[in-house]
Amino acid sequence: MDHLSSYLVLSAILFSLGLYTVVTRRNAVAILMGVELILNAANINFVAFSKFVTHNLDGHLMSVFIIMLAAAEAAVALAIVLNLYNDRGHINVDEANALKQ
C-alpha cells in the first residue's frame, strides 16, 4: 500500500478488463459498464500520482472532472440506448448497422 506500483498494476488490470468488456460485449449497457471501468482505472492513476509524485491536488481535480463527465456520459448514453430499444426491440450493438445498408 506504500508503493506506487501496486496502484499502477491495479489500474492496468482494471483498464484491461474494461477494454475487454468494451470490445467483446454485444449488449450496449454492458459496453457502458466497461467504459466506467476504464474511467475508474484512469482515476486511480491520477490520484496515486497525486500522492506519490506531484504532491499536489491537481490529480484530484482531474478525477472530480472525470467523475462528472462519467455521470453526464451515462445519462446521455442510456437515453440513446432506450431509443435503440424502442426502434429495434434489442440493444445488440453489432446488429445496429442500419447506416451500412
Binding site: N27, K51, V76
Partner: protein, 163 residues
C-alpha cells in the same frame, strides 16, 4: 492490518471487475460493478483522497449504477428471469487486451517515478480542492456546469417517446 485490508480491497476490485468482463448474467455484472466502485472508493481512502472517496460512492454507486440498472430493466423482458448476455470474438479480444496490458505494464513499471521523495500524506483535501476549483480551475468548472446542463437537456429530449 492496514496492509491486509489494502490487499483485500485490491483483490475485491480485480475479482468483481473480472465478473463484469466475463460474467454471463447482466444483473450479476451490474452488482459486481458495485463491488468495483466501492473498492475503488476504498483505494481512494488509502490514497488520502477523502473527498473523492465520498464523491465516488455518491455519484457512481448512487447515480450511475442506478441509471445502469434502469437501462437493463427498461430494455429487457423482466418476465424472462435470467437476463443473459453474450460476447463476440472472445479469443481475438483477449489477445488484443493482453497485448495492451503488457505494453502498459512494461512502459510504466520499470520507470522510477517516485525517486527518493516520500508520499504526501494529505490531511484535508476538501479545502484544497475547493480553493483550486474557484481559482486555477474556474474556467473548467464553468465549462463543466454548461456541459452538465447540456447533458441534462439532451438526455431528457432523447428519452422522450416522440422526438
Amino acid at each position: 492490518m492496514a496492509d491486509f485490508i489494502f490487499w483485500v480491497i485490491w483483490a475485491l476490485i480485480v475479482a468483481s471487475a473480472a465478473l463484469v468482463a466475463f460474467g454471463n448474467n447482466l444483473i450479476h455484472s451490474v452488482f459486481a460493478l458495485m463491488g468495483t466502485f466501492l473498492g475503488v472508493a476504498g483505494i481512494y481512502i488509502f490514497l488520502n483522497a477523502d473527498f473523492l472517496a465520498v464523491t465516488q460512492i455518491v455519484v457512481y454507486v448512487g447515480g450511475i449504477l442506478v441509471l445502469l440498472v434502469f437501462g437493463i430493466m427498461l430494455t429487457n423482458q423482466i418476465s424472462t428471469a435470467r437476463i443473459s448476455q453474450s460476447s463476440v470474438q472472445k479469443v481475438l479480444g483477449l489477445v488484443v487486451v493482453l497485448g495492451v496490458a503488457a505494453i502498459i505494464l512494461t512502459a510504466v513499471l520499470p520507470h522510477d517515478w517516485v525517486g527518493s521523495t516520500l508520499p504526501m500524506e494529505f490531511t484535508d483535501t476538501v479545502t484544497g480542492i475547493g480553493n483550486l476549483l474557484f481559482t486555477d480551475y474556474l474556467i473548467l468548472f464553468e465549462i463543466a456546469s454548461v456541459l452538465l446542463l447540456g447533458a441534462l437537456i439532451g438526455a431528457a429530449t432523447l428519452a422522450r417517446k416522440e422526438l
